[in-house]
Amino acid sequence: MLGEGILKGMAETAKNFFGSYFSAERLTTVEYPEERIAPFEAARVFPFLVYDGADWEAGLRCVACQICEKECPPKCIYIEKSKDKKPDAVGKPQFYPARFDIDISVCMSCQICVEVCPFEAIKMDTEFELSTTDRFGGLLLDRKQLAKPDEYYQKIHPTEAHEVDAKLAVEKAKADAKAKSAIAASAAKAAVIAGEGA
């Protein structure tokens, strides 16, 4: 019969239309600003810099090695290395970024900077409501705007942060052991020198 296929299709749309009043599964959208879907744990938007402790400037994990700057596909990262050194989380003196800018109007959220970073210093944010009226200055983030505490990172990517913490703890333990043995060695040396003196 001519028109049978059309009627069959119409029945399908009618089923979906009336079904949406009874079954929540048929509703696929939410009213965005009022209702929100929680982002997935793996979600990524733009990078940020992680810092430990309370002071953002002293706690930055970044040591300005500039690997992310080199590997970044669209080259949206700009780093200036410091002249002096400051102690990092382990206590080893390291360089720090005197300047660290990310142009998020260029960034394409590919996460390669996070993958190549050997110091777990740069991570991906999940904040996506970033509209601004200043299209140049407002989208060029400096290191102060990029710095976010480790607690924030633990909150947005708990599973990943757990692994990172385990890895950092191992590194710290290694560094501590090394420092201890160095102290012991120097103490022994001092003792030897003292013995020679006596």
């Binding site: 028109g3 049978e4 296929g5 069959k8 299709g9 793996a42 590919c110 993958e115």
Partner: protein, 391 residues
């Protein structure tokens, strides 16, 4: 016929194009530029059409409005840094772009891929094929004039697949997931469980889509016998993918090459009979069903193990000098990456063989003699993404 027209209608030997359409003596030809901002062109693409009344006499495709210098950029950056750029070629199915590029580099470097990573690639690749075909059918029907409904049905299913992508890779579309020697992150058991649940719901969606569209009289009247592509011409022009199979040529790279682990799976290759728009529409529906079959097998068999080859290098990756061509059956056809390495950190030559562009070269042959309203439909049935056509 003027000299210019004669030149335009010249056909190379063995090209098998349809006979040139000669306008009747009354009146003049009307030349229309459809696009670059025509709503039917999926982006920025221009068709210079010469019309005799409503009949298409000549059609010239104009590419390049979305040219982004992809190949040259890739020659200037490291192998790894090109991976996120491949997402942006065919942005409807970024996973298969990643896969084709990873395959080419793995061939170049002689890199092995762990078992679990191969399974994950197949699962994600077939999910991509499913959502690409669903949305491509939706767009096709949208261009026929059914604004909204079938497209929204398709997007409802696509949304579920994209949620899976986001949960695993962190992004809905620009996934940047594959690496040379495996995949970036491992799938958790919870993700696999959710995927099984989503895949279990997909046949219901295909059934619904079929009831909604496949026997619709208006759709059949508009699409059957329209835009016929002869198998000889399809082979000569290098057309691949569902377009070629709709013309009745049995050529699927998953079967021919058996790249990855595809020779382990049991699936059929649907073939068309007439090579018209309706056949291309039906082929996509049938391929969706085959994809679900492969997904079920892969989700059942997926082993436990690493997803990255421990010997694979992320930074400082320098394959030895040589060349390689990696190709896969992307949802739109044969997607290939041709790479020449001179031993340096970035490729000496990087070339993409995009299915969309090459499938589009037969557009004029399919459109000649049809009404201008059918041009939109035939163009939609080719299933292109302009990001891949222009690169």
């Amino acid at each position: 016929m003027s000299v210019t027209e004669e030149l335009l209608n010249q056909r190379p030997e063995g090209w098998n194009r349809p006979a040139p359409q000669v306008p009747d003596d009354e009146g003049e030809l009307l030349e229309i530029a459809m696009g670059p901002h025509h709503p039917s062109t999926h982006g920025v693409f221009r068709m210079d059409v010469a019309l005799d009344g409503e009949r298409v006499v000549r059609l010239k495709a104009v590419f390049g409005y979305l040219h982004r210098n992809h190949e040259k950029i890739a020659e200037g950056v490291s192998y790894l840094a090109s991976m996120p750029y491949t997402d942006r070629l065919d942005y409807i199915c970024p996973i298969t772009n990643n896969w084709a590029y990873a395959l080419a580099v793995e061939k170049l470097a002689g890199q092995e891929v762990p078992e679990r990573a191969e399974y994950l690639r197949v699962i994600l690749g077939e999910l991509t094929r499913f959502q690409n075909h669903a949305s491509s059918i939706g767009f096709l029907i949208q261009e026929m004039g059914a604004s909204g409904t079938p497209l929204m049905y398709a997007f409802k299913a696509r949304e579920k697949v994209l949620d899976l992508f986001e949960e695993l890779t962190g992004a809905r579309m620009m996934v940047n997931y594959m690496r040379f020697g495996g995949c970036r992150v491992d799938a958790s058991p919870a993700w696999l469980e959710r995927t099984r649940k989503v895949v279990a719901g997909l046949p219901g969606f295909v059934d619904e889509f079929e009831r909604l569209l496949a026997t619709n009289e208006i759709l059949m009247a508009r699409t059957q016998g329209v835009g016929i592509l002869k198998p000889e011409l399809a082979i000569n022009a290098g057309v691949t993918g569902p377009m070629l199979r709709a013309s009745g040529v049995n050529y699927d790279i998953r079967k021919v090459d058996g790249y990855g682990i595809y020779n382990r799976f049991n699936f059929r290759v649907p073939l068309g009979d007439h090579g018209d728009v309706y056949d291309r529409f039906m082929i996509r529906l049938l391929e969706m069903r085959e994809s679900i079959g492969i997904l079920n097998q892969a989700l059942k068999e997926i082993p436990i193990g690493p997803v990255m080859d421990p010997k694979a290098k992320l930074r400082g990756f320098r394959p030895k000098a040589g060349e390689a061509y990696g190709r896969i059956e992307a949802p739109k056809g044969e997607l290939g990456f041709y790479l020449i390495s001179d031993g340096g950190p970035n490729p000496y030559r990087y070339r993409v063989r995009p299915p969309s562009l090459i499938n589009l070269t037969v557009l004029e042959d399919m459109c000649l003699g049809h009404d201008v309203a059918d041009v939109v439909l035939i163009f939609g049935s080719v299933d292109i993404v302009l990001g891949e056509v222009d690169r």
